[in-house]
Symmetry: D2
Subunit: 317 residues, 4 copies
């Protein structure tokens, strides 16, 4: 079941679970995957930038991808295959597809600057992985420092029939969605799924601008599922009410570096991860940060019961 | 009344008001300044990065600074004097102080990389403006791409007795405040006012970490004043309640480029600016963006009456 | 006598001469200008990036530009007017043209990334200075971090009839000249003067690729004049022989930061500058560096008598 | 025979030889390695930045490293192990040492900015590879955009007893060598081998400043060997005479992107590579570029017979 431009809904970005000693935690992979399916995610994306993918060696990355893919069953799995070179990218892409992935995701290397460099890179990447592999274009200038205009995105999509989805996390990016959807209305851009990342910080309005759903790693993917559904059902106020209740925590999780620590901390509190450990180099949470997150959760729980988590003792952390 | 390390409260970052034809709008300068004073701001900061300062020529910058300073009366005025070279920086700094400014603000030029380059730059800047001019260190890596560790900030402050305030807008930055306050506890850093920028996105927790107040341009400075006061009074829940109600709009205004347009649009709706015009190159608002901001204001108005603004007709914009 | 696309030959990039105390040295401005004329330069470019332009305040910049323009007489003067905003750019451009400048030079601000951002910026810049002012496009990615493809340069030139010259200092850039000249052969680009910068490091081959001359600040502009003439006369071997003799020093002067110190040191040895002082922040030469430059000069003097300079005693520096 | 701080002489940076179809060319690996030994290189460095290392997948990288190591025999082999994460770095480092490498080389990831980030990274890297693996610190800001002051380098070296060599390619960097050697004189820095890269562009003076030798990929490593020896023997003029004869070509090869193409073209002309092919994305040479290189070789051959290469017909390329 390969990824198509009709893909929509919520794709959870999965963290890579580690044990405290840095080994990969297969049990948590399974538990996370099952949870994503239960709460209604249409897919799961693994080995993304925030999935600590660069901290795995090649064999580990292949093992992690395969485990998620096998467990995902009816959900679609997308594997991040960004790499400094095409040989490694191709290898992971082919192997993932053979294992049953729905598609792969590619981010531009930070050195790209001009429109031509960018479009040329993705033509070569498509050739490298093979044009039978559906792929997701990741547009994330804040971290990658590569800026793609809507016209450049259109060019990339029109150059590669196998590019079926945009992971939209430009910031600010609301007008970009509007412009891309306008290209489709005027016939210059073919169908393309647009799922939104950036921690979900603008998901409320991104849906209204024409996005098809969410692809991000916020620690309450179940909320993402709800907001996407409410928004698609035209329940604007209800969508914003739920979103706004989560916004203080979304905002808090959106801090670079700290964000992943917070995410893993909450996922552990939710019983999904056995450990909140990151591989080096990685941030760890201070007591004050933990207290702040707990406070945000307690405030959130007044509106959304899913945030009513048993307070974890500091000793247990 | 020069700026001291005891400065606290809310300093509003003022936009530079223009007429539709790009001329400077003196009447709006006066109106804005009076408003800041009425709602309880302790100060006003002019010619900041988002004040479109680089779009003014030298004579205009001097005129704008002087007008704000003269009107501010009991409020303290801080003038942004960041410049590509020390000659221009010195000229604007001396002229502003002569006109009655409380101090000046200096951001590092984007080319600085190493700790030594950064500390050396600020020693030279202090020498350039004269050590009788109190100054504010602006720490804003997201836009300036200069990263200063807490130790580097300590070094800068200890090198220059006239550095009396930190405009804190690192992101993430909560631990930075904690670390700097820790330096003061261990005696390695002298007293320093810390006011927080970054659009106010983390003001709720920044206050709890030990900040002295806010210095940012959010379109409801009156809310900043309230949150700072509630937080200082130990009213944690009330501070967060008010802050969280504004957070969807704070978040929306925090989009680079778009943010200033939104800010000027709301300030015009509030009757403070005659025009929301920016000088080129500048963003303008689409109809959809305006509708989104109006929707956010209407939601906010349910909690905070100050956001209950007469809807402006599209024709009038 | 305004600048046209037929401009050719050598335009010396003039340093801004300072006295040891940092004041502007008018006598050296005059002496330098006369020297450029005597050795056969067609023009002089002032207030460039390496002319320490950002270290001058607005009034000083205007005074320096005017002094060079008035003294240049039959030579054409180009004034660097790059500025963070259009108001300052316009002011210096109009004032320079009124004083008799042949044209102005504009570099892109470092924040520009996409092709559209770049072309849009230069359309706005043309509008800002007025379309009656001939201007030079500076293409200098190494320092400015803005990368312009040949197609983008073509777009800029075709958008602005008043853009008459390219200061070419991309690196590597030989193919860029070839591509631009190819655009002219196929009729898609109108006539454009191409003068080469980058310290002259590739002048030998740039001329053979179709450049019209040199615009750089190497401390022997008289050599640049000769190489340009020899190359245009088809004297390939003679051009390379002279160029190669200077290459060790060209290479040495091409070190960022150190380069300007070396340049001012040699120009002082040549009797053209009264002082080698730079305004802060600026590099100064160590004894070892001076000895290395003197050694390079002594080796060069065996081939080019112009380098046979009276050794300056260390005490006199 | 592990790498020690006493290492000196010339370490050739080896390109990775490919066949025209992109497969790795083992025969050329052997031929190159033998050549380096014959002309007097003390070592060979493989899988460096310009060795197209990122274009290999993990298995290929291990195979290439092993082949070079086995063939190098009496020469020391250094393997570039820079990687986005420590797991991959460790794996290649351990495997290379087991195969007989003398040491490994580590470059900082481009995201590092502050002094603390840099020193912390290398402490973690040392821990990751194991403190029994001698390693080379690569200081290459032009490409990596990480700027390390002499004090930071000293800190890194003093933190890790297994850091035995600096690959010096800061630019400008002559004063850096002098400063580091000064640290050793004042007792604050322990012994450290300094080999110079940057294409050899400043090798003449770097040796005089106290470098121990060259580590770069210039297409005439035999010249590097000679210049290093002449300089060490105090034959200043002879060293510069030979160096200056090569400088026009060194300079030409020093163009980013184009450089590797030129290098492989000349190495093929010298009979050392079977093909000048690069893996994608890679530059290819135009006819004009080839003609320019041939012209430079013909001029060089008048002084250095090693450059008198049979002209290759265009068809054969």
């Amino acid at each position: 079941m390969k990824l198509t431009p009709e893909a929509a809904g919520t794709f959870a970005i999965a963290p890579t679970p580690f044990h405290d000693d840095g080994k990969i935690d297969d049990v948590s992979i399974d538990r996370l995957t099952d949870f994503y399916a239960e709460v209604g995610c249409e897919g799961v994306t693994v080995l993304g930038i925030l999935g600590e993918a660069p901290k795995l060696d090649a064999a580990e990355a292949e093992a992690v991808a395969t485990r998620f893919i096998k467990r995902a069953k009816s959900m679609q799995t997308i594997v991040g295959v960004s790499a400094p070179g095409f040989a490694a990218m191709r290898r992971l892409a082919r192997l993932s597809m053979d294992a049953g992935a729905a598609g792969v995701m590619i981010a531009p290397p930070p050195s790209l600057r001009t429109d031509e460099q960018i479009t040329s890179y993705f033509r070569q990447a498509t050739e490298a992985i093979g044009d039978d592999v559906p792929w997701v274009l990741q547009d994330y200038p804040l971290t990658l420092s590569v800026v793609m205009t809507p016209k450049v995105i259109r060019q990339i999509v029109m150059d590669s029939a196998s590019c079926v989805m945009l992971k939209h996390e430009d910031w600010p990016g609301l007008e970009k969605i509007t412009t891309l959807r306008g290209f489709q209305k005027d016939g210059s851009l073919r169908p393309l799924s647009i799922l939104c990342g950036n921690g979900g910080l603008f998901l409320d309005f991104e849906m209204e601008r024409g996005a098809d759903g969410a692809m991000t790693g916020y620690c309450f993917p179940d909320m993402l599922v709800d907001v996407v559904k409410l928004s698609k059902a035209g329940q604007r106020d209800l969508a914003h009410n739920l979103f706004d209740a989560h916004l203080p925590l979304i905002r808090y999780e959106h801090q670079q570096g700290v964000g992943l620590s917070v995410r893993k901390y909450v996922l552990k509190k939710r019983g999904l991860l056995s450990s909140s450990a990151q591989r080096k180099p990685g941030a760890s949470l201070t007591d004050t940060t933990r207290e702040e997150v707990d406070y945000l959760l307690s405030r959130l729980a007044r509106v959304d019961k899913r945030a009513d988590l048993e307070p974890r003792s500091k000793a247990a952390e």
